[in-house]
């Protein structure tokens, strides 16, 4: 639908304009955000260097590559959080969105997608500095790069769905933080956010194969730095598509129930 495309481009444009105005505070956020992977990187590089060059089969240079690409992937998979949901309901913005003849998720998807443009521009100097300091080893085929570019948006969509689902819990309770923190903990451990999945014990790796988390962090990163085979690369995209579809379905179901509840108990 041409109108929908028009809506997406307009919203993205607005996100870019607004994001650019807040670039200073966005930089603060980003620097705080890269502290996390840098810490992991330093710890694992120390272990690798002390254990004869590799830890879990990865050299310090490979860890550096992993975690630096991590920062880009992390930027891309930042989406609307349950805390935003709470704020939105509190300030009455959700009512405004409900009055529009359009599903509110489109606004969030479009807005955050637009914000990424500014984020990536701000990220480039940071990545350059990190590369100079930590000397990542980096080899990637054109196919890998192509898959990476698609995979990060797949990760974006999967995480958008997941966090929208979590956010909708606020329809029923204001105490969503506990569930959200639990989700974040599991995601941290099983998505490749804390460590490359190959460093996890076998049973954990098996478990994460059945969960959507690895497709939001590990897969895009590994696509670029992990020397995956073409089969793995394309198969991974397929899995991402599957999880996006599952997520979309769940969002529609829960949304209907959520709006019914929201409209019954007052707002």
């Amino acid at each position: 639908m041409r109108d929908m495309l028009n809506f997406y481009t307009k919203t993205m444009k607005i996100a870019i304009m607004t994001g650019f105005q807040y670039r200073v505070s966005q930089y603060f956020y980003m620097i705080g955000m890269i502290a996390e992977p840098i810490i992991y990187l330093v710890v694992w590089s120390t272990i690798a260097n002390a254990s004869g060059g590799t830890a879990g089969g990865l050299t310090a240079g490979q860890f550096a590559a992993y975690y630096i690409v991590w920062t880009l992937v992390r930027n891309i998979n930042i989406v609307f959080t349950p805390y935003g949901w709470e704020s939105r309901i509190q300030h009455g913005y959700l009512s405004g969105l409900l009055l529009r003849p359009m599903h509110p998720i489109h606004y969030d998807l479009a807005y955050f997608a637009g914000a990424k443009v500014v984020d990536v521009v701000l990220w480039i100097p940071i990545a350059t500095v990190l590369t100079l300091i930590f000397h990542p080893t980096f080899t990637a085929t054109p196919l890998a790069i192509g898959v990476f570019v698609i995979a990060i948006w797949g990760a974006y969509l999967i995480r958008s769905m997941a966090l929208w689902l979590l956010g909708m819990i606020t329809f029923w309770t204001t105490k969503v933080s506990a569930i959200f923190e639990l989700y974040m903990a599991i995601e941290l451990l099983l998505s490749g956010r804390l460590v490359p999945l190959s460093l996890l014990p076998g049973w954990a790796q098996q478990l994460s194969n059945f969960l959507p988390f690895q497709w939001t962090f590990s897969f895009p990163i590994e696509a670029l730095v992990g020397n995956l085979t073409p089969l793995q690369l394309l198969g991974g995209l397929g899995f991402q598509a599957l999880w996006v579809a599952i997520g979309w379905l769940l969002v529609q179901l829960v949304w209907r129930a959520g709006v019914r509840h929201f409209s019954s108990v007052g707002n």
């Binding site: 603060f28 705080g32 955000m33 810490i39 710890v43 272990i47 879990g56 506990a178 923190e181 451990l189």
Partner: protein
């Protein structure tokens, strides 16, 4: 000043008691956070016997102090600084300034998140387990040194945050500066000694995380030196003086006095 602190504490507590669920939620979140820390340690030690000369019990002690200090920060320092920042940015600081008490005290103690002290307790438990594994008992002197260094570290973090937040008087667009700190504070999970030299300096003098976590932990893991203690005391004093002066300077700017 202490009476003021007690009054704010009482009101804050009464407020929070209404929300008993918050206690369980907070406990749950603390345990989840701790769980992640323990998993991290487990993963590290599944690939190596020591980390840069630090043993598992020693790192556990650091994790304990990190959690404990984190609880203190989230209960007392963070909510006050966040509120101060909001008020400066929205121009509603005047309410705090027109009260008949020292403005720095008011903006520093009026908010209390009582449930965050759960982190303090959880961290203390972890710390005790770690110390028991290391020494089988805690001597009086190390314990006192630890407590003292903890207080100094906390004061340094407070000064650091107050100085940064005071900067908002000039640089109004400071959203996310507290997120920045929270991100950098995570570096305290691990002893700062493992970081590259330049980062260590940053984490000691720029953002005093070394003094908040690693050095108090040193008191209980047997790595403390007298230079560190003296340094901590001197730095704390210096920061307190500077923070107070900077606050006064910022207020004058805020109320339009010529610099």
């Amino acid at each position: 000043m202490f009476r003021l602190m007690w009054l704010f504490f009482r009101v804050g507590t009464m407020n929070e008691l209404q929300y008993r669920v918050n206690f369980f939620i907070q406990l749950f979140e603390s345990l989840v956070s701790l769980g992640i820390g323990l998993v991290g340690l487990a993963l590290v030690f599944s690939h190596t016997p020591t980390l840069d000369g630090w043993s598992l019990p020693q790192l556990l002690a650091v994790l304990g102090v990190y959690t404990l200090m984190g609880g203190l920060i989230k209960a007392t320092i963070q909510p006050n600084m966040q509120r101060l920042l909001d008020e400066i940015q929205q121009g509603t600081l005047d309410y705090a300034l027109t009260k008949p008490a020292d403005s720095q005290v008011i903006v520093s103690v009026r908010e209390v998140r009582i449930w965050e002290t759960v982190d303090f307790l959880v961290g203390a438990v972890v710390l005790m387990i770690a110390v028991v594994q290391l020494h089988n008992s805690i001597g009086v002197l190390p314990a006192l040194l630890f407590a003292g260094l903890l207080v100094l570290g906390g004061l340094m973090i407070y000064c650091f945050w107050l100085i940064i937040t005071t900067g908002a008087f000039w640089l109004v667009r400071m959203d996310n500066v507290l997120e920045l700190f929270q991100g950098v504070y995570q570096a305290g999970r691990w002893p700062v000694n493992i970081y590259p030299e330049w980062l260590q300096i940053g984490l000691t003098f720029l953002v005093p995380i070394a003094f908040a976590v690693t050095i108090p932990a040193d008191a209980l893991t047997g790595r403390l030196t007298w230079q560190l203690v003296a340094g901590a005391a001197a730095l704390t004093l210096g920061l307190l003086v500077f923070a107070r002066w900077f606050w006064w300077f910022g207020l004058r700017h805020y109320s339009g006095a010529s610099a």
